[in-house]
């Protein structure tokens, strides 16, 4: 394991932010770290990077405790935490030079990382003249500066437009192909599903589930299926009236039906019995379904969901 947390706990006053959290991040993986707002994601990431001291437990990077051996443990780590804040009165080039000095390295890698995030031609502009998206990209550039083996990214796509998000996604894939392990936290579940090989979900500071993305989705007891059916409105009405259908959304002429595993066959059975013509049934289990079911965030809504359209 390149990164481990062992029984990590942290409280702020009486509020428990992280509760006995143990994670294992395999080398070479792209590890998605998910949780609702206030679940303890940021606190965990800050403990991983030694910004926050845990009350108990420890973080190990390549077996070395971050808390005990900060300098050595973080030597091969690049981190981008939450928001890209730089010395705004200085240029991107000067900002990165300062960080290279801290790493005890030369400036050779600066144009390389700036080119990688598409900021090479703006290197000498002061950061205060950068847009939010450009600052985010500069944030990723600084994380790559020390040629890390482990990249910790906390909400790296915040403030980016769809094109920017795609660029980050492509960059993550590219970095993974270079053998860099990436630990990424994001609230964009679709993004995480697209790029991550592993995922962990925490809620109220506790680990809910962790493992390979494909395994977790396959084991999930909730399924979303895309049903192409005629007549669409009648089929939707039928499904909406069933207690066992958690959600039924009409998107682009198809119905996306969310049911538990044992009710999968009942969907087609119901539609056929009511003389609906089924053209296709496509499994569409999403990370969002897994996330909502595991965190219980779909529970407070009435049983069949207020999200039904």
């Amino acid at each position: 394991m390149i990164l481990e947390t062992r029984n990590l706990s942290k409280s702020f006053g009486s509020r428990i932010a992280v509760d006995n959290l143990s994670l294992e991040i395999p080398e070479g993986s792209v590890f998605g770290f998910l949780g609702p707002n206030g679940s303890g994601k940021s606190t965990t990431i800050r403990m991983m990077t030694d910004l926050i001291r845990p009350d108990s437990g420890e973080v190990l990077i390549k077996g070395m405790s971050v808390q005990k051996y900060h300098q050595k443990a973080l030597a091969g780590v690049g981190a981008f935490i939450e928001r890209a804040d730089f010395y705004k009165h200085l240029s991107a080039q000067t900002n990165l030079e300062m960080l290279a000095r801290m790493d005890g390295k030369g400036f050779d890698n600066i144009p390389i990382v700036l080119k990688r995030v598409g900021l090479l031609d703006r290197a000498n502009d002061k950061v205060k003249h950068y847009s939010q998206g450009m600052r985010q990209r500069l944030g990723i550039a600084q994380a790559l500066l020390s040629k890390p083996k482990l990249l910790i990214l906390d909400e790296p796509t915040n403030g980016l437009d769809p094109q920017g998000m795609k660029e980050v996604r492509d960059l993550v894939r590219e970095l993974r192909s270079e053998g860099i392990t990436i630990f990424i936290s994001s609230h964009l579940l679709d993004e995480v599903q697209k790029i991550c090989s592993h995922v962990a979900i925490i809620h109220l500071g506790q680990l809910i589930v962790s493992g390979k993305m494909d395994d977790l989705l396959a084991e999930s007891d909730l399924f979303t299926i895309e049903v192409r059916v005629q007549p669409l409105n009648e089929a939707k009405k039928l499904l909406d009236n069933q207690d066992w259908v958690r959600r039924c959304d009409e998107i682009n002429g198809s119905l996306f039906v969310n049911v538990s595993r044992d009710k999968l066959g009942d969907v087609t059975k119901l539609l056929v019995q009511n003389e609906c013509r089924i053209e296709a049934v496509i499994p569409k289990t999403s990370l969002e379904d897994l996330f909502l079911s595991k965190t219980g965030l779909d529970e407070p809504q009435s049983h069949r969901g207020s999200e039904k359209k």
């Binding site: 800050r46 910004l51 926050i52 973080l74 030597a75 801290m102 790493d103 020390s146 910790i152």
Partner: protein, 278 residues
């Protein structure tokens, strides 16, 4: 470490607030020197009167040394405000700006970062005092000329020009040390908060309290005086006594060094344990 200090100096020089002291001195000193040059007759007469019948004064006793001596006495209370401007921001500004998230996640120890910031603020303080010295002595010499320095302190002390230069160098050297203590005090407060103004107010408040305790003639306060660091802030004035009271200077420096060590110790304890939540 030199690279880290250079980084910190870049940050200090990048903040306009750091130049307030320099701008203030650059504006104020020529004005004061101009005032001495054209309106200094009254001070000159006062000095001549005090010299009485014992001396025959030939020419003007009003020169760059005397002007510097008067300026230092007048300016002394206000210098802490100016040197605190950089120290207040040293750590607190990083917390406020969120830049700790990129600094403290790198493979550099917090202790190194802390000391690089401290050394940079000391360098800033030294440069500011040297700038004051340059404006007083350098520009003053060009404007008012040089000569002997006459100091009234429980008697009359006349220092010839070469001796006056040495005493001025000693005085400014001691002044740098005193102001570095102020800087370190402000730095300590800076390690505790995320707001650059708070440490400046905190440091100045403590210094003012010290001056008040020294000024009020109560027996209780008199007993406290030897233990208050502000008591030793006038150590630079010892450079103008004859003979130079080295024992008192050394004692003052020891006390100031102890306080400085204490301030640094608290800064380390706070900064190394500090959770970065911004």
């Amino acid at each position: 470490m030199i690279g880290l200090i250079y980084n910190e100096l870049l940050k200090i020089t990048g903040r306009w607030r750091s130049f307030i002291g320099f701008i203030g001195i650059a504006i104020l000193m020529p004005l004061i020197l101009w005032g001495f040059s054209y309106g200094g007759g009254e001070i000159h007469d006062q000095y001549v009167r005090q010299l009485g019948d014992n001396f025959i004064v030939v020419g003007s006793i009003f020169n760059a040394f005397l002007a510097t001596y008067i300026v230092m006495n007048a300016f002394w209370i206000h210098m802490p405000f100016l040197v605190a401007l950089a120290a207040g921001d040293a750590i607190a500004a990083e917390g406020a700006a969120g830049t700790f998230r990129i600094l403290l996640t790198r493979s550099t120890s917090r202790l190194k970062i802390l000391f690089s910031k401290l050394f940079a603020t000391w360098i800033y303080t030294t440069v500011l005092i040297l700038f004051l010295a340059f404006m007083c002595l350098g520009v003053g010499t060009l404007w008012l000329g040089s000569g002997d320095l006459i100091v009234f302190d429980k008697g009359i002390l006349i220092l010839d020009q070469s001796e006056a230069w040495i005493r001025m160098a000693l005085s400014f050297g001691l002044a740098i040390i005193v102001m570095c203590v102020v800087t370190t005090l402000c730095f300590m407060f800076s390690a505790m908060v995320n707001n650059g103004i708070g440490p400046i107010i905190g440091a100045i408040f403590l210094i003012v309290i010290g001056y008040i305790i020294m000024a009020i003639p109560l027996e209780m306060f008199d007993k406290m005086e030897p233990y208050i660091f502000v008591t030793y802030f006038d150590v630079w004035q010892q450079a103008f006594k004859d003979p130079i009271p080295w024992d008192r200077i050394v004692k003052s420096l020891w006390v100031l060094a102890l306080y400085t060590t204490g301030f640094i110790g608290v800064s380390i304890a706070v900064f190394l344990r500090r959770d970065i939540k911004t």
